[in-house]
Symmetry: C2
Subunit: 305 residues, 2 copies
């Protein structure tokens, strides 16, 4: 193993992280936290791995739609699905949230949660990211992988709290991030307990249960985790309420935003970006002294070798 946080430059950001972890894990320190209270939450898209040019789950859904299309000739007449199948992503974009739901219902429902997990694992193992030309397990940010390891080595329990679908993420978070399925909080669809071919399974229904984004993130944290985190990492306005909720707890707290300001090595975007817009949360971070991680200045490496 390399030194902890080897891909982080010796900037105030790294110092702030190390200082916080030392203060909260040194017995006798005023900020000491018992191991059970060391809870760190991480957004996924844009925080642990890239979300450009599109959410990876959307890229998965498009691949899956194309794979299933031969059995569904009716899809070409649907405004959203037809647009994707003919490669007209601008037309798909115009179908908005309704189009997204249609795509998710067509590609994420009607099968058991376990069969769905297998399909995601197969895709992750074989597909390549369209821009970075790497297999997906090699697209997480190396400094964030080191941060997860560093926190766990110091007794922190690491959770993912993402707007992504919970079953999609659970198919790869153990291997990619060392985060087991029960520490992944995401958007959920309804499921039904059903005996299929003699075996009881959970069947994914084409119906939303909870959207884990914006104010939905603290709702999800409270439902799954049952208490406030002490560290929270995000990168967009969809993470603002999660950071506010974390900040409002008693005792030492650490809130941070990953700022994508590295067009050369990954991407540069914040306010006004169609994906992962960072505007209000950046203003609030600056006002309240939360940590803003500059990919350009704070990280000496972006992707794993």
């Amino acid at each position: 193993m390399s030194a902890p946080l080897a891909s982080w430059n010796d900037t105030p950001t790294k110092t702030a992280i190390v200082d916080f972890v030392q203060r909260t894990t040194t017995e006798g320190s005023a900020d000491y936290l018992a191991p059970n209270d060391r809870i760190a939450v991480f957004d996924n898209d844009g925080t642990l791995w890239t979300e450009q040019p599109a959410y990876n789950q959307l890229l998965f859904a498009i691949d899956r739609l194309k794979a299933l299309a031969p059995d569904h000739p009716e899809w070409k007449d649907d405004p959203a699905l037809g647009a994707i199948l003919s490669g007209d992503m601008a037309a798909f974009g115009k179908t908005g949230m309704k189009g997204i739901f249609t795509l998710v219902a067509a590609t994420h429902a009607g099968i058991s949660t376990e069969d769905f997990g297998k399909i995601v694992r197969d895709w992750i193992a074989t597909a390549k990211h369209p821009v970075y030309k790497r297999p997906y397990p090699a697209t997480p940010f190396e400094p964030m992988l080191e941060l997860l390891d560093y926190l766990r080595a110091n007794g922190y329990i690491t959770f993912i709290v993402s707007g992504g679908g919970v079953e999609f993420m659970r198919a790869f978070t153990q291997e990619a991030y060392g985060v087991p399925p029960q520490q992944v909080i995401g958007s959920t669809g309804k499921t039904e307990f059903k005996v299929v071919d003699g075996a009881p399974v959970l069947v994914k229904l084409p119906e939303l249960d909870a959207i884990n984004d914006g104010p939905g993130k603290p709702v999800g944290i409270d439902k799954f985790l049952g208490r406030r985190p002490v560290m929270a990492f995000g990168n967009s306005d969809g993470d603002l309420e999660m950071l506010q909720y974390t900040a409002a707890g008693d005792g030492a707290r650490f809130m941070a935003l990953v700022h994508h300001d590295d067009a050369e090595r990954e991407a540069a975007y914040d306010k006004g970006s169609p994906i992962g817009a960072l505007d209000k949360a950046l203003t609030e971070a600056n006002e309240r002294g939360w940590t803003v991680i500059s990919m350009k200045d704070d990280w000496n490496s972006i992707f794993p070798d």
Copy 2:
């Protein structure tokens, strides 16, 4: 610490548990499980602690209703709440599920999840069980506490999967069972992210989100845990689907029911009991060779000293 499973007699039940744990944790064994796959789920009411003469959460709700009643003169005109306040539990019983929901809405909503947790902790610390005349933290079954410890000592991750309210249970599961909040799956109400007195909190709404009982148990397990357990312990027909779901996984599995057959030391009930009826699940356990734990024969002690 006393010997593992000291309150368990040397019966085939204890042998079956020890044998299963040894087979699944000995490297090289055909049934070996990696630590991350060692997931054991436990029902709470009737499995880890007593559910007679009524669910402890119902006893809490009644105490809470009485404490709040002076500020709510209108409650005495409500069929369910008025019946409780006048001590007429038979009349309350006749109001059925509607009465239960009215009671839960009156006593479990309108405050933040954290304030609610404090109220439960205060109650748990001061109230006494009406039959066993013990503080609630002393009402769990000693053999089950030993079993939880024994499994964790062998690398198992222990989860509670109960029909009880998730916030009610999370207020005491760490202290009572050594199970942290994030390993408690229960029935949930809806919550709302809201800034109250300048601080963001989750406010409990008088609206159901999910009932974690019967087929709701595998649904909850899949949503929170993301995979099948390998060991499952219950005591009533409400646990049947959880045991079926566990049994249907690949590889070694262990399913067990706690059978309340000890009228002298705790209670004797199964089919036809108004609380914790055990009928279909007992038949299926006997047919399929699942373990049936006899409190009378398998346990030499019921409650902690």
